[in-house]
């Protein structure tokens, strides 16, 4: 294997809760578990709709528990980073007293030997509660809930956070590796399809038109100069990872004599008002091993493009070349 690229993606979701889940989460801050009546049944955790008919339920809430019975369970000997406890625990379906369905949650039993179907459990509450399913820290064996002094949320809970993080290790293909190496050396490596004669960058390893594999034997070095076919001025809005604060341009560059349009490139030393279609530009690279302050999304050692000063290309169809 040629190697891997590791990337960690964060998923910082903020979710609105609505009238039913919001009421449930608010009750959690008050150390209560609440269900909703659906016909003759009490559904826990509450749903907005009758699970059998899909009809919207009246907001007829009812407290259940605090204790309940384990209907089924498994023992998690090695918890993941997303699990609610960092030591071995049970995941269980707990049917709370007064409920007709089971709530999935953790049981902090200490040992697998303490677990059994039919055992009685009660909630252990967190001291700090914010209206989240993990305000219920875990169930513990027995009939007695572990509660804290103090009331619940001052206002009804309407939102919740869900933060997950996943690390991916993506294998680098041999094509990608050679393309990256070329980029480190200040070259654009292309792949020329022997059927349609189109040229591609980025070491993708196939022609998407003819759906055939392309490899080392199809590689060609591409020119460093090209023309801007289109551009956009981006006004930064705050989101995770965004560091820019002032409006900046991104340009599409059609490399001379090829079919390759490099999208969303950095244009250097040109005020936003002066960016235009037809402008002649040339790639600027950092020297090998040089550490430069550049947009991390740019490939390899490419810093961006600089105007060459040559006369503009005035072809009116340029704007249509987006890839």
């Amino acid at each position: 294997m040629a190697g891997t690229v590791e990337s960690t993606i964060k998923f910082p979701y903020k979710r609105s809760l609505g009238p039913v889940l919001g009421a449930f989460m608010t009750a959690l801050t008050e150390q209560r578990i609440m269900g909703i009546r659906s016909g003759g049944r009490v559904i826990v955790p509450p749903l907005e709709w009758d699970p059998d008919t899909g009809v919207e339920l009246a907001h007829d809430f009812v407290d259940v528990g605090p204790a309940g019975t384990v209907e089924s369970w498994t023992w998690v000997a090695k918890p993941t980073a997303q699990h609610p406890l960092d030591h071995p625990f049970a995941f269980a379906l707990v049917k709370l007293d007064g409920a007709d369905t089971a709530l999935m949650h953790a049981v902090d039993a200490g040992s697998i030997d303490a677990m059994s179907t039919g055992m009685r459990v009660a909630p252990r509450w967190k001291a700090e509660r914010k209206g989240h399913i993990t305000d219920l820290d875990a169930f513990v064996p027995g009939e007695t809930p572990e509660t804290h002094e103090g009331g619940g949320a001052e206002e009804p809970v309407t939102m919740m956070d869900y933060d997950a993080t996943i690390t991916y290790r993506i294998p680098t293909t041999a094509n990608q590796l050679r393309s990256d190496q070329a980029s480190e050396q200040g070259r654009f490596l292309g792949l020329k399809c022997p059927i349609c004669n189109r040229t591609y960058t980025g070491g993708r390893g196939y022609c998407p038109i003819d759906a055939i594999e392309l490899g080392e034997e199809h590689e060609v070095d591409l020119p460093q100069k090209g023309v801007i076919t289109n551009y956009t001025i981006i006004t930064p809005t705050p989101y995770p990872g965004q560091t820019a604060t002032e409006p900046f341009s991104r340009v599409h560059v059609w490399l001379d004599g090829t079919d390759v349009v490099l999208g969303y490139q950095t244009l250097l030393d040109v005020p936003n008002d002066d960016v235009h279609i037809g402008m002649r530009v040339e790639a600027v690279w950092a020297s090998e091993g040089e550490k430069v302050d550049k947009d991390p999304r740019m490939e390899g050692n490419l810093i961006g493009f600089l105007p060459t000063g040559e006369p503009d290309n005035t072809d009116p169809d340029l704007v249509n070349r987006l890839h």
Binding site: F11, A92, T101, I133, E213
Partner: protein, 354 residues
């Protein structure tokens, strides 16, 4: 038996199933699509519609399926669709699309590289975002909870589960593409520790990278291209409530409904390829499908031998088709499932003959 508006499978291809592929998902698809259209005796140019099943969370990239379109050869442009589901549901959409009567040939595919991250962390992100995902509720834990429900009800034993593992991985030796196969001693398997009680390592599917593609055609075109088209005579899927705490985990109602809707009762099923990724799911699904002892289950080895998430179900249908084309069977079944504790189930019934 086949009617003018019926639709048939005319070719397919299954990739090597490996723990860590060096290929991109698009490259895996490139190969299986080439394999499937070659198997069908056509080229990509003759394909009128494509539908892919894949998952952004598995791929680690938003809109990852857009890159996968490169594998289709989408020039001139093709009618294309995507489902964030197993390729078996992509096949279902392609089957529906051909019934609109205006085009003849479709390709369905499924692909996934589960190796690139921890499948336990990915799975929980796909659960109910309020009650389940924030607990990190993962596929193995859900399966283990359902296994215990079946054990407690006396519907399965740990020995039966180990026997499923030993049988499927032995049968799986018959397929070169499989990942985990071999001869295992049931007593030795039962002597091992639990990974997630009551599940042991042998009860779990492998983590697999792989892909599958399949070509289907309307009746006239299928007969023109293929000596022995494999007719899709019934195709249905049903879904149940998402949260496993609100279902009876000792049965699979949606499987039974899908099987009935697909016409399972119209004749005997000689071979069933079912997506029982965890060993206890096999007896549960066999009962829900209403299959008797005469039906051979997962002779390919099933998901126990290779479990390419997003393609496992389509591989089941391909294997069921292979039993008719290559093994002299007449009526077979492919099954796929999705969601925690077998929430959603799909049944595809296949028959041979003109």
């Amino acid at each position: 038996m086949a009617h003018d508006n019926d639709i048939a499978i005319i070719g397919w291809n299954i990739s090597p199933m490996v723990r860590n592929t060096e290929h991109t998902e698009a490259q895996m698809l490139l190969e299986v699509i080439t394999g499937a259209v070659t198997d069908a005796g056509i080229t990509r140019k003759e394909v009128d519609f494509t539908c892919a099943g894949s998952c952004d969370y598995v791929a680690g990239q938003a809109f990852s399926f857009v890159q996968n379109i490169d594998a289709i050869g989408a020039w001139p442009p093709k009618r294309d669709s995507h489902v964030e589901m197993d390729g078996a549901w992509a096949l279902y959409e392609a089957w529906l699309r051909l019934q609109m009567d205006d085009i003849d040939i479709a390709v369905a595919m499924g692909s996934g590289r589960s190796s690139t991250a921890d499948p336990e962390l990915i799975y929980s992100m796909e659960m109910d975002p309020y009650y389940l995902a924030p607990l990190g509720a993962d596929a193995m834990s859900f399966a283990a909870i359902q296994a215990r429900a079946l054990l407690d009800a006396g519907k399965v034993t740990e020995r039966q589960m180990a026997e499923v593992a030993a049988r499927t991985r032995r049968d799986g030796k018959s397929r070169d593409y499989n990942q985990v196969t071999g001869d295992f001693d049931v007593d030795a398997l039962l002597a091992t520790d639990y990974v997630r009680a009551p599940l042991r390592r042998h009860d779990l599917p492998p983590i697999t990278d792989g892909a599958c593609a399949m070509v289907i055609a309307r009746a006239d075109k299928a007969r023109e291209l293929c000596e022995n088209p494999i007719w899709i005579t019934g195709f249905a899927h049903y879904s149940e409530l998402h949260n496993p705490g609100m279902r009876d985990l000792r049965s699979s109602n949606s499987t039974t409904l899908a099987a009935k809707a697909a016409g399972i009762e119209e004749g005997p099923i000689e071979v069933a390829e079912i997506q029982s990724a965890f060993t206890h799911e096999e007896p549960l699904l066999v009962e829900a499908l209403g299959l008797g002892p005469d039906t051979v289950i997962n002779p390919s080895g099933g998901p126990q031998a290779a479990n390419p998430i997003m393609a496992t179900g389509l591989v089941r249908i391909a294997e069921a088709a292979g039993q008719i084309r290559d093994n002299g069977k007449h009526r077979t079944l492919g099954h796929s499932t999705s969601g925690p504790c077998l929430q959603q189930n799909l049944v595809c019934i296949l028959e041979g003959g003109k």
